[in-house]
């Protein structure tokens, strides 16, 4: 598995009258295949996840993926780290499903014909073949999220970071997307409010008040989170 290293990585942003700490300097090394991140809204868990592929740059410390500094070599890291957002609507930017997957493949396959064939093959792999020429706006929420994932997985990243990918989905689609994510061979970093999903991870970080409050095995971490919410 790849190694994601947070080396005193933290984030503060200027606000009126001072600075606000979004994430305290954090030091962790993630080598497990499935890493869950849970915590309350605004606790800093998405910031932690976004640092992995450079969507957010730390203001202190650094983040490395297999030893490569994300801040210095963002492009190289993003070729290895795929990112899936909560709302697929902001991630799907092409008019039809096959064209959106083709957009992901542009850097990897310059020949238009071969790129199209590869995109069709990717859609087939994720059960979207019959929607290849359908408008992305005509898909259901679950299909949109599957398509967004297909666009991420088309380029075969070594790590997939998913930021609350099931939050907007119904139960059936949550299961489809979760089964897809947990069936991946790649390393998965999953930010979620779904504690059942968190329990399926190998390791879970509980983020609270801009810091990692608990870091350990899934069941113990989820129980700790539940206890902290109850108290």
């Amino acid at each position: 598995m790849p190694t994601i290293t947070f080396d005193a990585a933290g984030l503060s942003v200027p606000v009126a009258g001072g600075t606000r700490v979004v994430l305290d300097p954090t030091t962790v090394e993630l080598t497990e295949q499935r890493v869950g991140i849970i915590g309350a809204n605004g606790s800093g868990k998405s910031t932690l996840a976004r640092m992995v592929n450079g969507l957010v740059a730390p203001t202190t410390g650094r983040v490395r993926v297999d030893g490569v500094d994300v801040a210095r070599h963002g492009g190289a890291v993003r070729r290895r780290v795929g990112f899936c957002f909560t709302d697929p609507a902001s991630q799907l930017v092409m008019p039809t499903c096959v064209e959106d997957v083709e957009l992901s493949l542009r850097r990897h396959e310059k020949n238009a014909g071969r790129r199209h064939d590869r995109a069709l093959e990717v859609l087939g792999r994720y059960g979207l073949a019959e929607h290849a020429d359908v408008s992305v706006h005509a898909l259901s929420g679950g299909q949109k999220q599957l398509l967004a994932l297909a666009g991420v997985l088309a380029v075969e990243p070594a790590i997939v970071v998913a930021d609350e990918p099931t939050t907007l989905l119904d139960l059936a689609n949550t299961r489809r997307v979760a089964d897809l994510l947990f069936g991946l061979d790649q390393q998965l970093v999953l930010v979620t409010h779904d504690l059942d999903l968190a329990r399926r991870c190998d390791r879970v970080l509980v983020v609270e008040g801009a810091r990692v409050r608990y870091d350990g095995a899934a069941d113990a971490a989820v129980d700790d989170y539940l206890a902290s919410v109850a108290s």
């Binding site: 070729r79 795929g82 957002f85 930017v93 008019p95 039809t96 542009r106 238009a112 020429d133």
Partner: protein, 203 residues
């Protein structure tokens, strides 16, 4: 309200228009658009509409796609036509209305017969000679493509924001405009993040 009718979604096919190079189609659209704008005559307005409809037939564009495009433009055309009627009279209003319809149908024919990625490839080819003076062809082409594709999403945001204002019983334009602008900017941010996350623009 359909949010995809403003631009035709690509419909695979093998018609002559599908097989034409992107440059020929965009060039043809530009010539037709200029002719529609510059030739101010009622008979010619009907001729241009007939040409646009003939192209749609030739490309076998689905009737539903054309109807959605026409419906969206009709809303705008009715407003513009009413203003024209008030300022210049009935004939001018009808001419403008027919011109807008012809323009929208011609645009839908091009987008329905041309995959966006093919358009991007063409834009990149055309812009590449400007690379020595610092122009990034991939980035410019993607910007143009995104600008076109952002339209349906922006209309969807407008409809959601309007419905939210109505649900709260607020009718003041500010109750619509302020959140709408904020949401459009937020969506632009999210799209930028998504493109960044996909590594698009890194090269």
């Amino acid at each position: 309200m359909s949010t995809t009718g403003l631009v035709g979604v690509y419909q695979p096919g093998t018609t002559l228009l599908h097989r034409l190079p992107v440059g020929a189609k965009l060039g043809g659209l530009m010539v037709l658009s200029l002719a529609i704008v510059l030739v101010r005559s009622m008979p010619w307005a009907w001729v241009f509409l007939a040409i646009a409809l003939a192209l749609a037939l030739l490309a076998r564009v689905r009737l539903g796609t054309l109807a959605r495009a026409a419906r969206t433009v009709l809303l705008l055309a009715v407003f513009v036509g009413a203003l024209q009627w008030w300022w210049y009279g009935r004939d001018k209003a009808i001419e403008t209305f027919v011109d807008l319809l012809a323009l929208s149908i011609a645009a839908v024919v091009v987008s329905a017969t041309t995959p966006v990625n093919a358009m991007l490839d063409s834009f990149i080819r055309w812009i590449t000679p400007l690379r020595p003076i610092g122009v990034d062809p991939e980035r410019v082409a993607l910007t143009i493509g995104l600008a076109i594709q952002a339209l349906p999403g922006t209309v969807a945001l407008a409809v959601e924001t309007r419905d939210a204002a109505r649900a709260r019983g607020v009718r003041h334009p500010r109750a619509f405009l302020a959140p709408f602008v904020v949401r459009v900017v937020a969506r632009a941010h999210e799209t930028g993040d998504a493109l960044h996350a996909r590594g698009i623009g890194d090269d």
